[in-house]
């Protein structure tokens, strides 16, 4: 089986989808001839022609607004917002339009649309190239929100998102594009080729939306993570020796509450981990759900390890990023609670 980086896996998902369905169109800023600033769409215009893969003006509301019209027509647009940080001009189109079209028209019009956007930090992108805005999407009724953590899932989830009848926000952790990243920024960069989840089938397959996966089984504590943080969690577990269970959520909405609740009921402890800011982050929702559904199993308060409630700084990136040291400390604190 071929090995792929996350970029290659995403490109493969788009290629497979465009080949199978003429209605799949791909566009965004720098997406056509050049193939995207992260090269996820490289070669697609050459293979499928300019009417299936093309450059868009620098207008996020225009990109998403036109894509909604295309989806209402019957196409399956998969558009790219160059950085998740740039999506705010499109937010009205996403929230008031894409998310509600099926509802407000009682199914007369639907919006099978995928909006891909690179998310998260770790690349010295400063406040405009590092944000993790997933909670701004999970808060909106009618959207599905997906965050893959590896090439195999990225391809399967993206194909599933494109085939989904509803709008899907597909957040691609940009620090994972070229290799798994566990938060140890001072160590040499590792390549996907050495990771088992870089084995990606060339053809069509889907990873179902709404299903989490357990990356490491453990008995002492459950760590809920997604995207880059899955790798941070695995590193922290190894370094602390705490026997933690690591759950990769993969899809935030719909959320696989069953897998989460079953795990926390067994371990009795839970840490929620994300890169986004703390207050009103998706971790707050996870903590509330764990509390509601596992209260009688909990032996300690649910903890959150996240980015700080500040804009994403540039020079102080590694003081902001919730890496394995911060998580490791939280793990040790949590297992000591009696």
């Amino acid at each position: 089986m071929p090995r792929m980086t996350m970029i290659e896996a995403i490109r493969s998902a788009l290629d497979v989808s465009m080949l199978r369905d003429d209605n799949v169109v791909v566009y965004g800023e720098d997406v056509g001839f050049f193939g995207g600033v992260f090269r996820c769409t490289q070669g697609l215009q050459q293979k499928y022609g300019v009417s299936r893969c093309f450059d868009a003006p620098i207008s996020e509301s225009g990109i998403v607004g036109t894509a909604i019209g295309m989806a209402a027509y019957g196409l399956r647009p998969c558009v790219e917002i160059q950085f998740a940080d740039y999506m705010y001009p499109a937010y009205d189109q996403i929230v008031s339009e894409a998310a509600r079209l099926r509802y407000r028209s009682s199914g007369d019009f639907t919006c099978p649309l995928v909006i891909r956007m690179p998310t998260g930090g770790g690349i010295f992108g400063g406040q405009t190239h590092s944000q993790s805005p997933e909670a701004l999407f999970t808060h909106v009724a009618g959207l599905k929100t997906v965050v893959p953590s590896n090439p195999y899932d990225a391809k399967g989830l993206l194909i599933a998102a494109i085939e989904d009848p509803d709008p899907v926000i597909f957040l691609e952790p940009k620090r994972l594009y070229n290799g798994p990243f566990d938060g140890h920024h001072d160590r040499p960069v590792t390549a996907w080729s050495k990771h088992e989840l870089s084995e990606v089938p060339e053809g069509h397959y889907t990873t179902p939306l709404g299903k989490a996966v357990t990356r490491r089984q453990g008995e002492a504590v459950t760590i809920l993570a997604y995207g880059t943080m899955v790798h941070v969690a695995l590193a922290a577990v190894e370094e602390t020796g705490v026997d933690a269970e690591v759950i990769d959520l993969r899809t935030l909405i719909p959320l696989d509450l069953e897998t989460i609740a079953a795990s926390v009921a067994r371990t009795g402890r839970c840490i929620v981990l994300h890169e986004a800011t703390l207050t009103s982050g998706f971790g707050a929702e996870l903590a509330a759900l764990v509390q509601e559904h596992c209260f009688y199993h909990l032996e300690a308060p649910v903890m959150r390890v996240t980015g700080w409630d500040t804009p994403y700084p540039h020079a102080q990136e590694w003081d902001y990023f919730p890496g394995p040291a911060r998580l490791g400390q939280a793990l040790r604190d949590l297992v000591e609670v009696r």
Partner: protein, 410 residues
């Protein structure tokens, strides 16, 4: 030493306010029949003047004159008159129903009936409109059932939208009428996307975008023009300039550009201004733009110069922001009266037939209203199920919504 005069902040004001005398001296009205009709293949730069003029067909005597006289038969014009009369009567009944507490909200079209009624006739059956809240003529002139419209307004058990939408935010794919949002300008760029999709699929259908003068100030309007221009999308970009955005006069959105049509020029989009109270001119200009789109010649921007004779909605009183009798002074008159006058002058209509038709239409609308009210009104009778709150959020009900639905026990 600083000798500069201090800067002055500029806020445009309308020509007159409540208590003042209506003043439309700033609205230059060309003579009917005086504006040339270029071929649809014309280069945009050759017709820049049409963005600053007003194309008119009906003169003061009700005669249709000049190069824009459309190829509509007298029967078709009578049908057009009936559509406008139906819309006006429908409005009056629904406005009253709102005052009687049968619904929460209503928006009338008074004075603007020609725009949507004539456009619908010019459009093909499979084309798609992306309307705002003041284009119900697109439905009425396309034989959408009045009862269904009323059931939507009443949010009753037969509401096609299951009580989820504000009154008048209709949706009917079958009738080429995209779901109305209520957020302004968002649909304008979606129409461009729909048109791009039609071109991508080598289809023959075109899209029509709709927006009011006020919301052309939204960035989505700009985005729509950029995308329409870049991809030469087969779309007609309709700006209905009814002079007022709730209480804000059109000068606040227009700023220093002479007209709303002129907004198209910087994008290389042919832009025409038309007398929106002239059914024949509106139809003719719409037809011209639709033909351009159909021939793959790209987008056209049309500004319909009209006047919102009524309130913005049931929630405002225009006498608080404009002279009470301003609408009577509007120099382009009333679209229903003007078409009626034309048909009478042409010998195809009479005062007697008009009165009789008015009575017939009123009876039809009242009958539809009775039928709709039998299915309930907002606060009494049949209403949509609480279960409908949870349906159609997604194609399939996800687990968290299933749990919430169970909580309210439906």
């Amino acid at each position: 030493m600083n000798t500069l005069t201090p800067l002055r902040f500029h806020v445009p004001e309308p020509a007159s306010r409540p208590g003042g005398k209506p003043d439309f001296s700033g609205v230059a009205i060309p003579k009917a029949g005086s504006i040339r009709r270029p071929p649809v293949e014309v280069a945009p730069e050759e017709i820049r003047d049409l963005a600053y003029s007003i194309i008119r067909v009906l003169n003061h005597e009700g005669q249709a004159i000049g190069p824009w006289v459309p190829d509509l038969t007298q029967d078709e014009l009578v049908a057009g008159l009936r559509h406008m009369m139906t819309l006006r009567t429908f409005d009056a009944r629904m406005q009253m129903a709102q005052r009687q507490g049968k619904t929460s909200f209503y928006m009338q079209h008074t004075g603007e009936e020609a725009v949507s009624c004539a456009f619908r006739i010019a459009l093909g059956p499979n084309d798609m409109n992306f309307p705002t809240y003041r284009q119900a003529g697109l439905l009425i002139a396309h034989d959408y059932p009045l009862v269904d419209m009323m059931c939507q307004i009443y949010s009753n058990e037969h509401d096609p939208l299951k009580g989820r939408q504000l009154p008048v935010m209709y949706s009917s794919k079958k009738h080429g009428f995209f779901s109305i949002s209520g957020n302004l300008a968002t649909q304008f760029v979606q129409a461009v996307g729909w048109a791009m999709a039609s071109a991508i699929k080598r289809d023959n259908r075109i899209a029509a975008a709709w927006i009011g003068d006020g919301s052309t100030a939204e960035s989505d309007f700009h985005a729509a023009l950029v995308f329409a221009s870049t991809y030469k999308a087969p779309v007609v970009l309709n700006v209905v300039n009814n002079q007022w955005a709730i209480s804000t006069f059109q000068g606040i959105a227009r700023g220093g550009s002479g007209t709303f049509a002129a907004r198209g020029l910087g994008f290389g989009i042919p832009a025409l201004r038309v007398d929106g109270n002239d059914y024949l001119a509106t139809y003719a200009v719409a037809k011209w733009a639709i033909e351009r789109a159909r021939l793959n010649l790209g987008p056209t921007l049309i500004e319909y110069v009209t006047y919102r004779a009524g309130a913005h909605s049931t929630s405002d009183d225009p006498s608080a922001y404009r002279p009470k009798h301003e609408s009577e002074e509007w120099p382009l008159g009333d679209p229903v009266i003007r078409l009626k006058q034309h048909l009478i002058a042409a010998g195809a209509w009479s005062e007697g037939r008009h009165k009789q038709t008015e009575a017939e239409i009123l009876a039809t609308v009242i009958a539809a209203q009775k039928e709709a009210e039998a299915f309930g009104t907002l606060h009494s009778g049949g209403k949509p199920s609480a279960r409908d709150i949870f349906e159609d959020v997604y194609a399939e009900l996800p687990p968290h919504l299933r749990r919430q639905r169970q909580q309210i026990g439906v």
